[in-house]
């Protein structure tokens, strides 16, 4: 009688250990992947209290201006490989080309009924104004004179 009772008790329990294992692994994968999911490159953004928060659902073409890794359009490096400084004359056309490629993709998106993306400039706060302005001017030359600047929301 006692043996039957013990047997039944053991049978009734589902072994949850593999489930927990899988779930925890998933959790860790997400924790690792989340920071990589951000748009553009990781830069030390300037802080602004008046910045507007927007959910990043891919509505931006992110132009990253980094300190020692050059310029990027989304995940593509335009210039500045091997710590070479990007220059206005040599690299602006490349930047515009890369943005144009994204705009071409946009036209396909718009045809599908999705909204066109706007350009967001994500520049490192430690850069001198000149280096950032170079990129802004190159983009403004294309007629995009209203630009969005990425910032970290801070303070009140």
């Amino acid at each position: 009688m006692a043996g039957v009772g013990q047997n039944k008790g053991a049978m009734a329990d589902i072994n949850v250990t593999p489930l927990i294992d899988v779930v925890l692994v998933l959790l860790v994968v997400f924790m690792v992947v989340t920071p990589m999911m951000q748009s553009g490159q990781t830069v030390d953004l300037p802080v602004a209290t008046q910045a507007i928060s927007e959910n990043d659902v891919g509505q931006f073409i992110v132009v990253s201006v980094t300190e020692d890794r050059g310029w990027w359009v989304d995940a593509e490096q335009v210039c500045g490989q091997d710590k070479v400084q990007c220059t206005k004359d040599a690299d602006s056309p490349k930047l515009i080309d890369a943005i144009n490629v994204e705009f071409a993709k946009d036209r396909a998106r718009v045809a599908e009924g999705k909204p066109a993306r706007s350009v967001l400039i994500k520049a490192d706060g430690d850069l001198p104004y000149e280096k950032v302005r170079m990129v802004m001017d190159a983009i403004a030359e294309k007629g995009m004179t209203t630009q969005l600047l990425a910032a970290d929301k801070g303070g009140g």
Partner: protein
């Protein structure tokens, strides 16, 4: 005996269900949250291909606000050197009567991007609807021609009231004028106890149909120091005494007065 062993077996097992529940919920929250928050500021940049020369700063209409940022880290507003908090006050005050409410930033090439964004932010905070970045000149922004003495006159400045509803700005302003002395006294009386006390205080009054004050309060205050509360209470009491003409049946209004205090 058998029953006892069974009970012991039950005791030794940890109930995993709540843990799994929580972990799964966390997982789902993270999946939903995946779109990452991005914060952005908008600015206007002139098209460099546009060859029309920018108007010289001296010819700029007097009501235009230009923040110049120099190589040495100093900043000026319309070619007048001043500190950041002073500039914030000035922009706030001057933007009130301006339309369109635009502020331009003319920065030297070597200024750090962080500082440029900071001043875009200051202009926004002071009420600028649009912030424009001026064309960069190799020689840097036009040099400052005067220096703000670093301080406002000792005492209080009554800013332009912001009104909503059935009252006009002129009447709202007129209502506060007779009380200016009393408001200033609130501050000056306490100043010896906190000589560094300065900043901006907003009074908010809601008015009823007979011009009566239905509600009065300090809606924001940048004062600091030990006697801050005394000053604010005093200001609030004075504001409660403002007199307004009847607005008319069923009509109400909301008036806000910015007060700027400086120890001089």
């Amino acid at each position: 005996m058998g029953a006892q062993i069974g009970a012991k077996g039950g005791m030794s097992e940890i109930n995993m269900t709540p843990l799994i529940d929580i972990v799964l919920v966390v997982l789902i929250i993270m999946m939903v949250n995946m779109p990452i928050e991005l914060e952005s500021l908008g600015v206007k940049v002139p098209n460099p291909m546009d060859t029309t020369p920018p108007p010289p700063v001296t010819d700029a209409p007097p009501e235009q606000l230009v923040i110049a940022m120099y190589k040495d880290g100093t900043v000026s507003l319309n070619r007048r050197l001043m500190k950041e908090d002073r500039m914030f006050e000035q922009i706030t005050r001057r933007l009130r009567s301006m339309d369109p409410k635009n502020v331009f930033i003319d920065a030297d090439n070597s200024v750090s991007w962080r500082d440029v964004v900071h001043y875009i932010d200051v202009a926004r905070l002071a009420g600028a609807a649009k912030v424009g970045l001026a064309k960069v000149k190799a020689s840097g922004p036009a040099p400052a021609t005067s220096v703000e003495s670093g301080s406002v006159a000792r005492g209080m400045t009554l800013g332009t009231p912001v009104v909503v509803g059935y009252i006009d700005q002129v009447k709202a302003d007129a209502a506060a004028q007779p009380w200016k002395g009393n408001l200033e006294k609130c501050y000056l009386d306490q100043l010896p106890l906190a000589p560094e006390m300065n900043g901006r205080v907003m009074i908010r009054l809601s008015l009823g149909p007979d011009g009566q004050i239905m509600e009065h309060k300090i809606s924001s205050s940048a004062l600091d120091g030990p006697v801050k509360d005394v000053v604010e209470t005093c200001i609030d009491t004075v504001a409660a005494g403002f007199k307004y003409e009847p607005l008319g049946p069923e009509k109400t209004a909301l008036v806000q007065y910015p007060l700027l205090f400086s120890p001089g």
